[in-house]
Symmetry: C2
Subunit: 242 residues, 2 copies
Amino acid sequence: MAQAVYGYHLYLEQAKPHIKKARLYKSGMTSELRRAEEAIDSALSGRRTAVISGGDAGVYGMTAAVFEVLAARGIDLGRADGQLRVKVIPGVPAVVGGAALLGSPLSNDFCAISLSDRLTPWDLIEKRLRLAAQGDFVIGLYNPKSKLRDWQLARSAEILLEYLPPETPVGLTDRIGRAGQAVSLITLSGLAQAPVDMQTMIIIGNQSTFVYRGLLVTPRGYVNKYGLKDRESPKKEMENAD
Amino acid sequence: MAQAVYGYHLYLEQAKPHIKKARLYKSGMTSELRRAEEAIDSALSGRRTAVISGGDAGVYGMTAAVFEVLAARGIDLGRADGQLRVKVIPGVPAVVGGAALLGSPLSNDFCAISLSDRLTPWDLIEKRLRLAAQGDFVIGLYNPKSKLRDWQLARSAEILLEYLPPETPVGLTDRIGRAGQAVSLITLSGLAQAPVDMQTMIIIGNQSTFVYRGLLVTPRGYVNKYGLKDRESPKKEMENAD
């Protein structure tokens, strides 16, 4: 049981009902590094310390800041004095939570790309968008827009439209698993003007992705390769495990 | 509560202790399509039916087969007679479960690529490997090898070595969360000969990924951009939420 829990205030509020006795240390959206440093100081002082993230901590979450600080400070990992035991608990990344709401968009090779150029040069993000589109990857876009970053999504849509048809289906999921959860389908031609913010997860289909009854489906190709079974044949006996 | 549960026998065995009363229908590794069809028949017959996958059902899991069959058979989704209500419950994909064991390898843009050419032409897989390497994506490789597919991993390693340095760190995770779980670190130069099978998840670092105390860390760049806080300054008061 953690004695101290560090996190972005929105996520700490969500987690609060599940936290019994720990002290909570909340911080703002761009303070990942200080949060990680303070959490590590807390752990070095002997307190069992947790750092929480939205989605999965390892996918654009807090594990990067924590491990960067551990490495920069040369902190040993282990059970001896002055060492820390660090455990990463995996979760459901936003791209996967969004996919579940959309149907089956991620069921072939995919990329996750963050449109935040706070720490990654924009040129590299553009390059990755181009390569992902050329490879016919399904593309999950994280962090599409914030108050200070208002042109990156439109520029990304423009780049993707150089490679992908305008009718490529796109799923938008908002506030996954939280109050205000919303799902909508658009096409790539409407992406530049789509109403999104930092809480929106965008999934862009590949060239096989289709819309079925309001859901996104990226086929693996089972039906195409093997065909449906003969519906008239007597039902085959199924193995029953119990 | 499901009345019928369909799945690959290995996963059904794992899930069995958590299943109370349902009938279990287990099937083999390459029978995804028939499994999906039978599960849909079961649901259409009025039984509450679950289909289980390893990892997340939407990432190389059973959602593709299920939605392909629903679409091919034109089955309506909804609550009326002859319609089905389908809900996808997200999980932890193997690439994320593996990442948690490895430290923080996925903390920048990444791709997931399956090396199975059963349903995807090998040329397209090669193309994706080349593009992912050129984009400096972290790369998660699913389904690296099976009894019938024994050369794809070595060929993939050869391709990646055209773009990435041989000392690129690579994490191997086996049987994540199951008996026999194992983690090891190698470099790209050793990937072709690495001991892997269908249960192995491979994560290949990007050009920034480094090894720290036996773990893989892909930095976001926090420390590089903002620097560590002055360790001599008085500890700043932290906000306490409770």
